[in-house]
């Protein structure tokens, strides 16, 4: 057997194993979402806790007013929540826009906290820690500056957090506001629904595990106190804080009725930089928590670690090897002599992927269509391939960061007017 044979075998087994895992998660996710779909997501509460809604904003002038308006329109009792915007070292007119908003809503608890270069501009975690220092709520809610949450979102999140003491945080669902801006945003929209929503729902259904997505979630204040705030070195503070919550023995639940709409990158270069940062963040979290894979006391967190390992190690290597062998085979540099490998099996894998994603889309209005089916197919051969490049670049950047011991320059995702 040649090296190409071994690598092909490895890639084939890995890809099918991951596909089966994904299908299982989709089935679990479907059951959970179907059950939840029969409810309105609300829980009965005698008393609503005071909530601090925190929004880190760095040069968000284009979108910030719309976000603030949406935050002030929550159907949560007005006197039971405050909105804190951390204007993190913005160089545009974000501050002025926020002051305008304060004037427009003088009776609302809207705090604008502007930082200067000495303390701000060091990333989202740092901004959240600054905002947290003045937050009064016993429950903290986080939204990104480009979000327009639906009015019921906060109430549903808080209700679900308060009725179950085993929960450390509750997350909602996020949707793509600028879905039709470009082909890329169409892909991101599908990916968001399939990966973020269905996958999270499946993990909750089977393992009572969810990963905080960075926006549209609520968390108990005492948990943040216990973990000592957000890790300023983490590039994906959401994954990092999720792991720390798991280690404390809490669960994180997803409630699909709490929806926020966010703006996704509509240009490839913006998307690539954003995803590279996410991947670097996840690799950082993976490296920092790898030790817990072998620690029985780590509990459910081990499952999530294994899941991340499957994605960032197994899936990455399998895709790299299979693409490499395919390309070298076409160029005539490598040949697989292993028998039994069939094009039909490859086509079946594509069919399953298609069905899997279409199931996710079927749960949303205006998403399930023949056009979407074609997009999913196109996505498989284009957008999905970009993920490999993103992770490879993230690995390179992470290694470079480690070797040179340099700070990562936080990349702020560029926004556009909708």
């Amino acid at each position: 057997m040649s090296i190409a044979d071994y690598l092909t075998l490895f890639a084939m087994i890995s890809i099918w194993a991951l596909l089966v895992i994904n299908i299982m998660l989709s089935v679990g996710g479907f059951i959970y979402l179907y059950r939840m779909g029969k409810t309105d997501g609300h829980q009965h509460l005698e008393e609503y806790p005071f909530v601090s809604v925190m929004v880190p904003a760095h040069n968000e002038s284009v979108v910030i007013q719309r976000t603030v308006k949406a935050l002030l329109q929550f159907d949560y009792p007005e006197d039971r929540y405050e909105v804190i915007i951390i204007n993190d070292n913005s160089t545009d007119d974000t501050h002025e826009k926020l002051v305008e908003m304060q004037r427009e809503y003088p009776k609302r608890m809207l705090t604008v906290l502007s930082t200067d270069p000495s303390v701000g501009g060091k990333g989202k975690s740092n901004a959240l820690n600054i905002g947290y220092s003045i937050a009064k709520g016993s429950v903290i809610a986080i939204y990104d500056a480009d979000n327009t949450p639906e009015p019921q979102a906060l109430r549903i999140l808080v209700e679900n957090l308060m009725v179950d003491s085993s929960l450390g945080a509750v997350i909602g669902k996020f949707r793509t506001r600028n879905r039709n801006a470009s082909l890329l945003t169409r892909f991101v929209n599908i990916e968001t629904l399939a990966h973020q929503c269905m996958n999270q729902a499946g993990r909750w259904f089977f393992f009572k595990l969810c990963t905080i997505p960075g926006t549209n979630f609520v968390i108990h204040r005492h948990i943040i106190d216990e973990i000592g705030g957000w890790d300023p070195n983490a590039l994906s503070e959401d994954t990092e804080i999720s792991f720390r919550i798991y280690r404390m023995g809490y669960k994180i639940r997803m409630v699909p009725q709490a929806v926020t709409w966010e703006q996704e990158p509509y240009r490839l270069n913006i998307w690539f930089r954003q995803r590279t940062r996410w991947a670097m963040g996840n690799l950082y979290v993976l490296a920092n928590n790898f030790q817990y894979v072998f620690d029985k006391k780590a509990g459910l967190m081990r499952l999530d670690l294994i899941y991340y390992l499957l994605v960032y190690v197994l899936m990455l290597t399998a895709l790299v090897f299979s693409d490499l062998i395919f390309a070298l085979g076409i160029l005539g540099y490598s040949r697989v002599s292993l028998g039994g490998l069939s094009t039909l099996v490859w086509a079946l894998a594509c069919l399953l992927f298609e069905c899997n994603v279409m199931l996710t889309l079927s749960l949303e209005k205006n998403e399930f269509s023949a056009q979407s089916a074609l997009l999913v197919l196109l996505m498989l051969f284009t957008y999905a391939k970009l993920w490999v490049l993103v992770v490879l670049k993230a690995i390179y950047m992470s290694l470079k960061r480690k070797v040179t011991n340099s700070d990562f320059k936080w990349y702020k995702t560029e926004r556009s007017a909708d």
Partner: protein
């Protein structure tokens, strides 16, 4: 019909007006004399234009001097070998023969104990006595006779080379037996070629190495090697896959310094675009008859000339090659016993055929990224002359086969494929059910949502992207 730049017109014998002006020859083939018009009969009798008459139907119309005999006839081949009675080719009923001072043009027909030429000439009439067009050998005999009839010069038409090919030699054939055949053929002193079967895996096995050592030996003695095309039906294989298989098979041999000089393909390759693409890299192509002849006949005509091939057509392995209008391969089954092979080859060696050596044929092969050229002064691979001298190979004492793993994994993958198929069918069915359920749920939400909206003002609106947002 295209031969020596001649063209042909076709007419109905029953309706023909009998004008032969402008024609250098007339070929008449009808079942019975009643099928010939009077005008045509008159023209055939009075004209001095050469006539080629096929079968018994027309002859009574053109001459009174004929013999008509009924009974079983036997057509034998004319090998040109003195004292040879030839082989029986066709048995049939009914015969009409020219008599008189005729010139025999080949073939023998037996009526009882009497023998007559199958094809003979008298004046301007050439008569091909018997034709059973369903028999390939009869068609070949007719083609040969027509060629001689149309040949405008003295002596026989140009003689093309014929190649003896020891057919279907497998790597797992007994090397000792192969050496025995080689020694026997060397003693006869007749040139021959070897057709080796393709292999795609395990080329490093000692068996293959030993086989290639034998091939290196015969190659060094001037025996040309042919590579047999993969044993697949053209209709069931993709051309890229076929070419890849040929590449793999060629490399399995060339890796040991054995360079096949031509490819051996079934005749239907010439009538298939896929087949022609598969042969594209080979200048020289040996054809063989195939049961798969109609399997992939996607082309209406033979356009192999387009690729500049040297085609060596299949002759019949029973030493009955009538024609010499194109190069031919006489295939000898390598799995016959050595004595039979030797007898056949000795017999061929006594005929007047022109046997040639494949190793002396100028040819070229593009295979993968390699370019193999056979020129008068030797064999070149990618521009470098190849040393064809035989040197014994060395063998590892304990060769590791790994065959258990490969076989095991291949079996496992094939079994897994079936399981995957079942899994996918079940999963897809489950997905369809879930999609139906979720669509029903989504529709219900839409209806409820619409009622709600109707009932009270709602904060939701549609953005310029057509997406509903608060």
């Amino acid at each position: 019909m295209l031969y020596m730049n001649l063209s042909a017109d076709y007419r109905s014998a029953r309706e023909d007006g009998g004008s032969f002006t402008g024609y250098s020859g007339i070929i008449v083939c009808v079942e019975d004399s009643g099928a010939v018009s009077d005008a045509l009969k008159e023209a055939m009798i009075s004209s001095r234009v050469p006539l080629f008459v096929i079968g018994q139907g027309t002859l009574p119309c053109v001459t009174e001097e004929y013999t008509y005999e009924k009974g079983t006839i036997v057509v034998r081949c004319d090998t040109g070998d003195e004292g040879s009675s030839g082989d029986i080719l066709v048995r049939g009923d009914g015969l009409t023969l020219l008599t008189g001072d005729t010139e025999a043009l080949g073939g023998l027909v037996f009526v009882g104990e009497k023998e007559y030429p199958l094809c003979q000439r008298l004046g301007n009439i050439t008569h091909f006595a018997y034709l059973d067009a369903s028999k390939p050998i009869m068609r070949t005999a007719l083609a040969s006779a027509l060629q001689k009839w149309m040949w405008p010069y003295e002596n026989a038409p140009t003689s093309y080379g014929q190649y003896i090919v020891l057919d279907s030699v497998y790597p797992f054939d007994d090397p000792a037996r192969l050496m025995e055949i080689t020694d026997a053929l060397d003693n006869v002193g007749i040139p021959y070629a070897l057709s080796v079967m393709p292999i795609y895996a395990n080329a490093s096995y000692p068996t293959m190495k030993r086989f290639c050592e034998y091939l290196r030996y015969v190659q060094s003695k001037g025996v040309g090697i042919l590579l047999h095309t993969p044993l697949v039906r053209l209709s069931e294989v993709e051309v890229d896959e076929l070419r890849m298989q040929i590449d793999i098979a060629y490399e399995a041999y060339s890796g040991y310094g054995v360079y096949p000089l031509a490819i051996q393909a079934s005749e239907n390759y010439l009538f298939s675009e896929k087949g022609l693409q598969a042969l594209a890299g080979f200048r020289t192509v040996f054809l063989f008859e195939s049961d798969d002849a109609l399997g992939e006949a996607t082309l209406t005509g033979n356009i192999a000339y387009r690729d500049g091939h040297q085609i060596v057509a299949a002759a019949y392995s029973d030493s009955t090659a009538f024609t010499s209008a194109y190069p031919q391969a006489l295939y000898v089954d390598s799995h016959l016993d050595v004595e039979t092979i030797l007898t056949m080859v000795k017999r061929l060696n006594t005929t007047k055929r022109t046997f040639k050596s494949l190793s002396q044929m100028n040819t070229s092969i593009y295979i993968g990224s390699d370019h193999i050229v056979r020129q008068t002064d030797g064999l070149y691979a990618n521009g470098n002359q190849v040393d064809l001298t035989y040197r014994p190979f060395t063998y590892e004492e304990n060769y590791s086969y790994d065959r258990g793993i490969v076989r095991y994994l291949t079996d496992q993958i094939e079994t897994s494929n079936q399981l995957i198929l079942v899994f996918v069918v079940i999963a897809c069915a489950a997905f369809v059910i879930m999609i139906v359920l979720s669509r029903r749920l989504t529709r219900r939400h839409l209806i409820l949502g619409a009622k709600k909206k109707h009932g009270k003002s709602h904060n939701e609106k549609t953005n310029d992207q057509g997406v509903s947002v608060p």
